[in-house]
Amino acid sequence: MMAEYILEMKDIVKSFYGVTVLRGVNFGVRPGEVHVLLGENGAGKSTLMKILSGVYKADSGDILIDGKKADVRDPAHSLALGIGMVYQELSLVPEVSVVENIWLGNLPAGKMKFIDWNGAKKRTKQIFDDLGVDIDVNRKTSSYDLGIQQLIEIFRVISKEVKIVILDEPTSSLTDVEVEKLFRTIRKLKKQGISFVYITHKLEEVFEIGDRVTVLRDGSTIGNTIETIEEATEDGLVRMMVGRTIDEQYPKISSVTPEAILEARGLSDGKNFFDVSFTLHKGEVLGVAGLVGSGRSNLARALFGLRRLTDGEITYRGERYAPKNPSRAIENRFGLITKDRKDGLLLHMPIRTNICISKKEGLVKGGFCLRANEKEEAEKYMRLLNIDANSSSRKVRDLSGGNQQKVAVARWICNGTKLFIMDEPTRGVDVGARVEVYNLINEITGNGGAVLMISSDMPELLGISDNIMVMKRGRVTAMLESGECTQELILEKAAGSEMK
Amino acid sequence: QGSAPETQQPGEASGTVQPSEEGSKGIEGKKIKIGWSPPDITNVFKTATDYMEKAVEEANAAGLDVELITRSATEHTDAADQVKTLENFIQNKVDVVIVSPTEVEAIKPALKEINEAGIPIIMVNMLDEQEGIDIANFVGFDNAQAASVSAYSMLDALGGPGVVGEGETVELPEDGMLDLKWWTELYKDVDKESISGKVAMIEGIAGDFFSNERTRGFMEVISQYPNVEIVAQQPADWNRQKAVEAAENILQNNPELDAIYASCAEMALGTSIAAESAGRADDLIIISNDGTAETIQAIKDGKIMAETWHGFPEWGWYGVQFAVQLALGEEVPLKYDIRPRTEYSGNADNFYPEPKLEAIDWQTIIDNAK
């Protein structure tokens, strides 16, 4: 068999600042398959793929495309070789229109290099219509929510003439409806012989879309590639990834009490959400379901004081509360995990600072930072949350996505947060670490805190929430008890007529 | 230019006002707008402007209606900006333009436009006639000559004959004017090898017209004296703070230095600060050009040895007189020579605080215009 593999990576080694991240990884992709790449946070999945797309250069090892050795110089070269990649972190140009982002790097131009805008728009609309998404191609990209932006980026790569598409956690901020659209597209392209490398932390997706699976741990492949998906079990995959079994993926301990901690009445920001009312009780996890663009994120931002409310009132611990600004919210023991990590984490600063920055007690004296205390405190939470870094002075930028997320959680726990607003708290977090996050949520609620958890991950929503609020186009369409609730019910309330 | 005297000088009868050939004109209610464009609006140019304002005040007190519009370039070197100012003067319908050029060559097109608009031009700070443009009157001096005067002061301070240093002291001229003519005459027979010393030069802006002229004039004299050695030459952009630094570095590098020629007042004052901090306040000879209240005081205090007077008060004072006369259609001399001359401790009182300016006979000017 000459071209069994359309792509082969052989003995790939890569290190950063002397830390070896990939230790001789072997990896092959066949034509027309979806090859799932699994592994814990920091296992080296993204790094391996970035070597393929020309962002990094391997220290040693070979890349073979169609059996021929390829020396990938840069992303442009990788594209020319037929490899397209959707990165884990968004890479769009925010200030330009959607069409322009779709065609970034190869805008259709006629003679004289003048751009054929009409043609570009028409073709983009065509692509969007085929996929059944409703996105205005003329709008500025940054005006769209993260989920939509992720779709745009996926379509950008798919719309190019490539043989291999790498998707690095493409669904981390998509809801089931969009995920389904994406899967339909993948299946269609597979039939045309296009191969996919698919990285995800959502194990149910592996069985839905995957053909073969490779597991990475600590920079090496674990076992051989699983040749047929039917051979695999969820437990088995988890054991390969984390090296142990996980008994319970959603370890829920309910601590909900009848005592209200926060009551919201008729909240509206005049643009993204309207007339939202709910009550959050001591010890409760209130899940928030909805499609991309349903206004959930903006609700979270408004509660935290990052956005103005135009209407409505909030009672917090029995008193009227106006969310003026985040520092006020933090003083009142609010905490916010943002959907986009870039909006919450100071990537250019050390882990230590990121964990300690919002806490004053014991860490600040007379305007000075008490460094020793900070270090101690940070290391405590690094241990507690299993943050994989050799020192608390590592910059957060250099951590893997999942570890970054843990740092974001650590900050608020460190600050003794009582009211936790979490927008996709386990976005990009691996199965093992996810359980740790859920345990933390249990601890928060057990100590009398409350959590408002926005999530697009249905099993998580059902497994962890006490109650679920469903939103559609900025309005609350249902308030459900999670016990009596099913995925279908939530979807119906969230999408309604749009599902047909 | 009719029968007006070619060049007038201080000491000669000033205000030699000739009746206009066109005879009397109604000047009641006639507003005279003067546009004044200096390259800079601080220090010496501010002095000139102050005296312009003073002259305007007197003119108005005498019954005229004169308005002075001052607009300086943003940078000393910004010829393009001065061109704009001059063009805008035309739009603004001024009656006379007084200009002290940033860069002569560069503003010629604008001056030509002013000529074409029929507006008379007075040029201050120089005397060189310019090809292709029509200047009604110059108030100024030759920058190279002024620097030559400084060069003679320097030779004097290094031991040559004169009134400044420790050399042979000579008699003062009758009119008290230690100008180039007097110095040249005095040094005609001096043995060129008898004077020696190590001298450094601090120039204005490297490449600037006035800076080049002054360097040229100074070197023209000094280069005739083989034992006077120029050991360093540095620009300090007409600027006190840069001169301090330049002088500090020069003194650092040349412990044997005898003298520094700083080609403007600000730079001389900066040099004296550096001399003081280097412990050379008493023996370093500093010679400069300009003449401001502060440098005259420095001469009296012994910080600067001598300076060459450029007559900024005169620029303003006579500039306005000639401007008004031109606006009223009267004849003016083509050149008013300031006669750059040496100020030193012996004659410093003649210059500041009250510069000796002859009164302008505004009444005669008014009468002549009628």
């Binding site: 797309s53 962002v55 840069d74 992303p75 442009a76 594209l79 020319a80 990649m85 990165y87 968004l90 890479s91 769009l92 140009v93 925010p94 200030e95 330009v96 322009e100 970034l104 790097g105 190869n106 805008l107 131009a109 290099k113 003048f114 751009i115 205005d136 003329n138 709008r139 950008r156 | 609006i41 308005e67 001052t70 607009r71 300086s72 940078e75 070197t77 910004d78 010829a79 393009a80 061109v83 704009k84 063009e87 805008n88 003067f89 739009q91 603004n92 319908k93 860069e103 002569v104 060559e105 560069a106 503003i107 010629k108 097109p109 802006i205 490297a206 490449g207 600037d208 017209f209 080049n212």
Partner: protein, 323 residues
């Protein structure tokens, strides 16, 4: 239905946003017309345009550079260098005028290229790189001219900057207009222009999308050098001579013009139309304040306050009609 509404509202806001700079410019013109009887006239407007031409040409190049997320502090020196090179070539070296001009423009384009090369390949901050170049090239221009103004330049070479079409409309205005139109087409309609915006908006993303970011940037710095070359030609005509310092301080003015026109110094956002308005705003302010007989010290105070006021107003309008 809802989304249609959005689009409409947005485009109304968009128009107001886009044209707020013009509105402010018009307001200033009205104020100046009231303040000085000599301001509002066709002749004075031609005068203003003529005075703004060189700055305008350079500001357009600068706009491209700023959109890439960079800055070019060397433009003043580049402009003076190109003019000086042309002038010396045409006089001392007796090169035919046209050749001399091409040579001067080539030199400044080449130096612009060098700027881009150092910045991208050496991976250094544009601010420092071009500041160093600014100092070095001023020195080179001084060496070329020996620090003296170069006059006696052949008439053909001076014509662009000194003559007028029909004796009325200065050619410099046509050059400015041509550069603006070409710049606008380049930025809005060509791949180079769109890549410029992409690189400035998100360099990492542009790279991963296959744009040759370094090449794009180098081209843009060379383009800025080209604009300086053209500016040098016009300026030489205007001053009937060339000198090594004639570009002094123009870098800050060019940046200000671009910023007044809404170009973001963070990169990724900007328009040629905006820059043209910015250039005219500066021109009108300078000219108007001259004609209003303000004293020189107050003139600085007022000019500074006006600049701040214009951007404040613009920012306020944008926010008001955007969110």
């Amino acid at each position: 239905m809802k989304s249609e509404n959005t689009v409409k509202k947005q485009s109304a806001g968009y128009i107001l946003q886009k044209f707020s700079a013009i509105v402010i410019l018009l307001a200033i013109i009205v104020i100046m017309s009231i303040g000085s009887e000599n301001f509002f006239s066709g002749k004075n407007f031609l005068n203003i345009l003529n005075q703004s031409a060189v700055l305008g040409i350079m500001a357009i190049g600068m706009t491209f550079v700023i959109i890439t997320g960079g800055i070019d502090l060397s433009v003043g020196s580049l402009m003076a260098l190109s003019g000086s090179v042309m002038a010396v070539a045409a006089t001392s070296l007796s090169v035919p005028p046209l050749l001399a001009v091409l040579f001067g423009i080539a030199v400044s384009t080449g130096m612009g290229f060098l700027n881009g090369f150092i910045i991208t390949k050496g991976k250094i901050q544009p601010f420092v790189a071009t500041l160093g170049m600014y100092t070095a090239l001023e020195g080179v221009a001084l060496l070329v001219t020996d620090g003296l103004p170069i006059s006696g330049i052949p008439e053909q070479m001076l014509a662009v900057g000194s003559q007028s079409a029909g004796g009325v409309v200065p050619y410099s205005i046509f050059v400015f207009a041509a550069v603006a139109v070409i710049g606008w087409i380049l930025l809005d309609r060509t791949v180079l222009g769109r890549n410029t915006i992409a690189v400035g908006g998100n360099e990492e993303a542009s790279k991963t999308a296959g744009i040759k970011t370094d090449r794009t940037k180098i081209t843009i710095y060379a383009l800025s050098g080209l604009c300086c070359g053209i500016g040098g030609l016009v300026m030489t005509g205007r001053l009937n001579s060339a000198n090594a310092l004639m570009g002094d301080g123009m870098e800050l003015q060019a940046i200000t013009a671009a910023a007044l026109g809404g170009t973001s110094l963070a990169g990724g956002v900007g328009s040629i139309g905006g820059t043209v308005i910015g250039v005219l705003t500066i021109g009108v302010l300078n000219n108007g304040l001259d004609l209003m007989n303000t004293t020189p010290f107050w003139q600085k105070v007022i000019l500074g306050i006006m600049i701040v006021a214009v951007v404040l107003l613009d920012s306020w309008r944008k926010r008001k009609f955007n969110d």
